[in-house]
């Protein structure tokens, strides 16, 4: 890929759009999450701040902006302030290969999914740094849990995506979407239901959402790795959590749900509809299931998801090779 001025301008514009998308997504999802939680528990949720409470997330973010930034004693200064930034900015890069249309990609690289999987590890690094630097026992425990969970759940996730890559013969997200049709029975979810299920479970584990939110388990580790962060540090972790959720939802939509293709009219709106359907699903299971124990979390992964994904990959490989 040559870096001409046009390409450079394209990437700059895409980065700005992606930042706008991330912030807007966090504001919308905080509201959606609290409303959905309210409806699941049979109460209205945020209601009085603005019409039907739609300004609630704005108020929260502005309040966090005006909060004192509390710096605990005996911390590692550089790492403590680097961690929230490191949680937020690598996600920016991950949005670049996501196809929103046939030509509507910030950076159409051939190894798009490789880029996403490689750089999504940086999110875990930020969690470790946050837990380590804040000189807090709960922080360190949360960081340790974040590592073992992320390492465990990344493997079945990659295996599930690899099955689709085998079928398509390409690592490019645009190519994978192009190989699927517009109608639901032409999507990869029909060919690879098991891979879809494994991906769906491990994306919840990968984004640290309940029932797999062990790194910040409130009942055991006060708030896990971001225990010592107040104000904007905490807000950045929150923002990056929602950005990561949206990213895995986009990848899910592109790999299994036909991406920007949909009935009647292809376009980026289908990408957004599908991704937000997955997001609402994540929110739904968060408020429905209790948190698992840590040994249960690892057992689900190593005993069920990993063998199933390997089996799925084998069968897919044999079918692709011989049939």
């Amino acid at each position: 890929m040559d870096l001409s001025i046009a390409n450079f301008a394209q990437i700059i514009i895409a980065c700005l759009l992606v930042i706008a998308l991330m912030v807007g997504n966090a504001v919308v999802m905080v509201y959606v999450e609290r409303k959905a939680c309210g409806f699941i528990q049979r109460r209205p949720g945020p209601y009085e701040v603005g019409p039907r409470g739609i300004l609630q997330a704005v108020c929260d973010s502005m309040k966090l902006l005006g909060k004192q930034i509390y710096v605990p004693g005996n911390i590692d200064w550089i790492l403590y302030f680097l961690a929230p930034v490191l949680a937020f900015f690598p996600v920016l890069l991950l949005y670049l290969p996501i196809p929103f249309g046939r030509h509507l990609t910030a950076m159409n690289v051939d190894e798009g999914i490789l880029l996403i999987l490689a750089f999504s590890g940086l999110g875990v690094v930020s969690n470790i740094l946050a837990g380590w630097a804040s000189n807090n026992k709960y922080g360190i425990l949360g960081a340790a849990r974040a590592v073992s969970q992320a390492v465990a759940y990344e493997i079945p996730m990659i295996m599930a995506l690899l099955a689709i890559v085998f079928l398509t013969g390409s690592l490019s997200l645009t190519e994978i979407v192009e190989r699927q049709g517009s109608w639901p029975w032409q999507w990869n979810i029909v060919v690879q239901p098991l891979a879809f299920f494994i991906y769906l479970v491990s994306l919840v584990g990968e984004t640290n959402r309940a029932p797999f939110d062990l790194p910040e388990a409130e009942s055991e580790l006060t708030a896990g790795f971001h225990t010592e962060y107040s104000g904007m540090g905490f807000a950045l972790f929150f923002l990056s959590e929602y950005a990561n959720m949206l990213l895995v939802s986009f990848v899910c939509a592109a790999f299994f749900l036909g991406g920007y293709k949909g009935p009647f009219m292809d376009g980026f709106w289908w990408m957004f509809i599908k991704a937000y359907a997955v997001m609402v699903f994540i929110v739904w299971i968060r408020w429905t299931f209790p948190r698992v124990r840590f040994d249960q979390l690892l057992n689900i992964n190593w005993r069920w998801l990993l063998p199933l994904s390997i089996l799925n990959l084998w069968v897919t490989a044999v079918i692709v090779r011989f049939i």
Partner: protein, 189 residues
């Protein structure tokens, strides 16, 4: 780094002091008072009830019970403060980042309640002996409506105006003077 105050009770003047900006941040603070997950006794049950379906404190944006004190704005002291718990409570209060509010829920937190008798040795008689309290919510334990009213009072304290309509069966409050009066030492209580 900001200059350190000479003594602990001194409050430094704000660097940016613009009235519209302060008002904007005050509105946002009043609209998202996140309480800390901190319950001491039976009043904590009412604190849980106020976040549940029938009363639903989340309508006013205050249902985000933060487990970490660093991310919370409001400490509801719900219940009896024993002398064993007092150091932990003071420490929690001191760890809370700056715009912080304390609500004393229930008679025990206000004055010691039923535990205030001659010769008692284990109970702190009123949490205002330990930390500054913004709003007192009486009751033993207070009803969830009373805790909601306490939240409205804190919002009123932040903003200077009451946001929600006053219930009809409550007595009308005494007319307030326009200017903020000098804080007087509280008589009795």
């Amino acid at each position: 780094m900001s200059p350190e105050p000479k003594n602990k009770s001194e409050v430094l003047p704000p660097i940016v002091n613009l009235k519209p900006l302060n008002w904007f941040f005050d509105v946002n603070r009043a609209m998202s008072l996140w309480p800390v997950t901190f319950g001491l006794a039976c009043c904590a049950i009412e604190m849980m009830a106020v976040s549940m379906a029938r009363f639903d404190i989340s309508r006013f944006g205050a249902e985000v019970f933060r487990p970490s004190i660093r991310q919370a704005d409001l400490m509801m002291v719900t219940g009896t403060v024993s002398k064993k718990m007092a150091p932990a409570l003071v420490r929690l209060y001191e760890q809370m980042p700056a715009p912080k509010y304390v609500m004393a829920c229930g008679n025990c937190a206000i004055s010691g309640g039923p535990f205030k008798f001659e010769g008692q040795y284990g109970i702190v008689e009123g949490v205002d002996n330990l930390v500054p309290v913004d709003v007192y919510v009486p009751g033993c334990p207070p009803r969830p409506e009373a805790i909601l009213e306490g939240l409205f009072s804190i919002q009123e304290k932040i903003l200077g105006v009451r946001l929600w309509p006053r219930p009809e069966h409550l007595p009308t409050p005494p007319a307030k003077p326009k200017a903020r009066p000098e804080p007087k030492p509280a008589a009795g209580s």
